[in-house]
Symmetry: D2
Subunit: 387 residues, 4 copies
């Protein structure tokens, strides 16, 4: 786990300011192996607070900007200007900032959801292709090594034909109306900032993307969604939702998205059932993967062990037994973003073609899924052909 760090990617951030939930892990992941180097930022909705924060982070004062427009414009004019930017602002701003970034020929790493509508996502995709710039989306949990192991197992046929996919991300932190006190929660339950959904987009898209990584060959044929606002004031946004899906191979899937699963920490769990065996993974114990062949004792696979598939071992930072956590998952993701960007920069190391990462299609897919779910739920929870 050493990297060529001679030419780190010059990197900026929008959002993720002091006290934000998610800013620290972006910086931590980007810096982990010196693939990125923070060179500029517009960290806060409050220009002054943002600039001060950037300086505290060690940025050149001139490059700690009051807003993203200023940053993109100024940096574009510098010989050493940023090459990539991460966007960690509330959802409603993602589209505009992504678009502006691409128009300034920046590679983009955007928080989920990428935007609010399929039309917007397709516009970003077209722009990214036109400019030759990548768009990554931070479905961070997908960076855990055991997800790569699961993907390899499915590809190798260890599970047989896939039959059932049970997904959930169901925490309990918003069982009560905590948004009355907490700003980070407040915008999440307000359609103006959060978009057409709360938990579907905020948590449900995470296991959805992981399922895509593990089961790349399956396509959703139709789905049905029912959503609830158990804390009434959140309506029309839901704090709980159940989605049923049928894949084109006849497999059936459920996704439980919730913020009112009282007492649960994350509750992000993936179970994939095949004709021969099942696998199960839980993001709170990310170093273990349960592998259950029908008629045999369940096996507990452990991260970092030699018996894993090579695809899972690529990202290993430390041997088995030592627990890795979410920071390594994110760092793995940022490394892959870096590889993809470096390929565009002509600096990519050889032999990493098989690396998969959440790209603009993954962003589009998340938006599409939320849109389909909302459409179904708002029509009374009916089956809809997925489109």
């Amino acid at each position: 786990m050493t990297n060529n760090r001679k030419k780190p990617i010059r990197w900026g951030m929008v959002g993720g300011g002091r006290g934000s939930q998610i800013g620290y892990i972006h910086r931590s992941a980007a810096h982990r192996d010196d693939v990125f180097a923070l060179a500029a930022g517009a960290f806060d909705i409050d220009p002054e607070r943002g600039r001060a924060f950037g300086v505290d982070l060690g940025l050149d004062e001139a490059r700690s900007y009051p807003d993203y427009a200023a940053m993109f414009a100024t940096e574009a004019g510098r010989a050493d200007g940023i090459e990539a930017v991460s966007i960690a602002t509330p959802n409603n701003t993602h589209f505009a900032i992504c678009k502006a970034a691409l128009e300034h020929d920046l590679h983009v790493i955007c928080e989920k959801p990428l935007c609010f509508t399929i039309a917007e996502a397709e516009e970003l995709k077209a722009l990214s292709e036109a400019r030759g710039r990548i768009v990554g989306v931070t479905y961070g949990y997908a960076g855990h090594q055991m997800i790569e192991q699961a993907r390899a197992m499915v590809r190798n046929g260890d599970l047989g034909e896939i039959r059932i996919v049970n997904l959930q991300f169901a925490h309990g932190f918003h069982s009560a109306a905590v948004e009355e006190q907490n700003a980070s929660t407040r915008w999440r339950v307000d359609a103006k900032f959060a978009g057409p959904s709360y938990v579907l987009g905020d948590v449900g898209t995470h296991p959805l993307y992981i399922a895509k990584v593990i089961l790349p060959h399956l396509k959703i044929r139709r789905l049905l969604c029912t959503r609830q606002s158990f804390v009434k004031s959140r309506a029309p946004l839901e704090d709980n939702a159940v989605t049923l899906m049928e894949y084109d191979n006849g497999a059936i899937a459920t996704i439980w998205s919730s913020a009112v699963n009282a007492g649960s920490m994350h509750g992000q769990k993936i179970r994939i059932v095949g004709s021969k065996a099942s696998i199960e993974w839980w993001d709170e114990r990310p170093n273990q993967l349960s592998y259950e062949i029908q008629g045999e004792p369940a096996r507990i696979l452990e991260r970092g062990m030699d018996y894993l598939y090579p695809e899972a071992r690529i990202d290993d930072r430390i041997g088995g037994g030592h627990p890795e956590g979410l920071f390594e998952a994110w760092a793995n993701l940022y490394r892959r973003f870096g590889f993809a960007i470096n390929r565009e920069r002509g600096l990519a190391p050889a032999g990493i073609e098989e690396h998969v990462f959440p790209d603009v299609d993954a962003g589009l897919e998340g938006v599409r899924w939320v849109e389909n779910c909302v459409r179904s739920a708002d029509a009374g929870g009916i089956w809809l052909d997925y489109r």
Copy 2:
């Protein structure tokens, strides 16, 4: 845990012969505290094998009958004839045997499903009332003490208002077409013997009943079901099904019923989410109940401990730490059947009014639920008002 065993209930069995899956646990539970005493039986579809088995069990040869009709007729004529009968035969025979038993003024303990249609169940209910005889149904898992604890917790408001109910009974033993070799499985996947469903009735009704015990105040408003036959030859019977339900208080529920959850042992899990806390129980670790108050550390409640509610402590046979298993759950159930029967016999001990047991209404409810599920599934998985 000592019982008045001076006047045990004279008891017979239909089915549950040598090699049957479920006969042994009936006898074991009925005898556990000498509430019942086996006095007669018609144990097998093969008269000779059945008679020999009864004699092996220690029965008087004359009372080991070739078939249930002979048993009911002859026993009715004896002064010491049986007062109650348990029915542990394949599903298709339950209705006729139950009916015959009630017509001979016997108390009945019947395997699930009680019968195949709501009409049949209502007929049995009317008959049971007319004759003043109880009908019990062996939803055996409901006898675990922690279910009583859960019921008491909900009643005491420990969970707040109920929001989400997640139920599953999803084993993997029939991931492949094992019925080709195994007779006990064969009739289960054949509509002639199994009725209108396989896993919905065979496993799904178990957690459904447990939910009813814990949440007696909730009524199903509407439901939607989708079912699959992953082993094709089982169609039209399903080996996997997902049911979505809405309760009248706005709570949402899911039930996953499966026999193709590869590698899973039982996978019977109950999670009930309230506005304040959740509880979770797993039948394979029945001595523990997880109690998760939002914002506090999860608590692991243990069977047999003083901190449990008195309702849960009634059935205690041995202190905390010592694992109890399914046999105690069934024995608890049989004790409750015995109490109910003894009440009719004028022998009931005082102070046990609050005991709940799966009675003819529970049997009816299981049949109703399966009927609704099948109706929904066969209409394409649509929402139906529950009726």
Copy 3:
């Protein structure tokens, strides 16, 4: 799991009266498969309470005796007199009652510890041989099926050469001086009734015996013990002890015996480490056995599954997934006592030679181990050759 119940063993009990900790499970286990039939009893130190209890249990009034001496004398004179007796009284009475029972030519099933000294145990052994009567000792946990599986695995070399044996039975119920309120605890911490030790004998001998079952080929070469009375008033009896042992093959063992392991339920855990693999078992989850081959994923073996060794499947009462508990473990043990007694009665079924059960040697071994531990501890915790 059906038994020839035509000639059940006529059986009596001493102790185990109303409110006693352990009486119920004896009766429950003995009756489980009709191998034994309760015919007489002297259940209580209080003659009147004892007689009333026996009658409540359904005994003939004449055979519910005021004391064991009367029972042994009277029953010996009856044609249908008892053939075997179980002893479930406080420790200090075991020797005298066992001896009296054997002198009346009864088979004996005695609670642990069998007696207080090696000399006493040897006297009982000689007597049992002279009279041709068996002595069983109720190390009840040893009846769990997974212990047989473990034994078969070791015999089959699945673990390689045995290196390390870690044993513990460490509960927390007596963290405070609960004996001030509780009679069942009071005698346990009083040397007059409990003998030379508290936890060493009361809990430590259980995993010691299980280790013997699993590792019959290993002999203790030397040991060292340190014991503490954390609740001061219990001195000289210990409420906590650690024993270190060396086996003759060079393996090393530890046994932690405790009643002050605050918050622990039982804490009876067995880990056996070999050169190739380890196994681990916990009596509170008795249906699982962890099997950990070095360099492979850990496997969770489940009771009742086809992949277990035949020796483990003999006692199966119900298929995998269904949890069995302590009552089945005890019933298994009583079945084996019954087989051994029936062999003496000339009634034993064929093909059960390999059944192992805690016999007089197991009783003797427990006494010997406690004696060695106490000797070591009282000499300052020094190594002593085991003798």
Copy 4:
């Protein structure tokens, strides 16, 4: 979790070269919050490989040294020379390198064991005091937040009086003689490089230090150790050891150190039993702490939650539910090293006085404990007053 990174500590490394086990986590932890900045290194026993590696890491070629002597001498002459150095070489070199570093007025962060003898450790301690330089020792697991929680719980009396301390670090990776193939293992089992012990020093000192953090008030009064070389060729170095200890308050402790616990990943577990409650922690699931009050349900405390003590929340990087791993533990430790160094540099932020970190006394204590253990074991496993 943002730090003043304006004046990072100029930092060098000795050892931890390409392919080493532990080099990466040092760099990762030191860089995590920009408290340290790598400025120089002598990474490898092979000068050329070491220099190339430093350059790959982005070092100035001139500051990637062939050996530590050159580094210390040259850096001392630079205005921007390193202020601190981490030592991650095999054990036998630690003393000499530490000493040389202190003599060059560098702060030192040394791998465990600090050195081989108490005399050496005391010499380093004296030198560190004389030079006003800190010595830190990387007992990395102690950086997990739940250890701070445990420490605060004990200090607040949540456990009552401490009675029993059960510690183990018992992995299985060296069950066979893997050193024949693996260089990182080879030196560990060779007294010339590893010092007087293998597992006692290599793994046992980790939980020993954690116990010290949690139980600062307890002193070891006497101990007894027995050690084994199950892989014969490792003698006289042990691959398994059991240590018994008595604390001055009468508490009893055990430490199981092993590299032959087949199938175990790390097996680092801490259980502390008090008169009121116990706590239990396992390094492979570091985000949970079990808190078991006698007579109440066990509670599972989770990292990152508001109900934890403030001392545990200081190091929080991301909210509860998100798993943190070993890298965060190490980063926490490096932050504390940084605070201590910055205090010497006159740059320490206010209000962090209570931070505890493994300092030269912790290093000394580890060496002392190993020395006492070896002395006891080599005398036949006898009790020795701790000195």
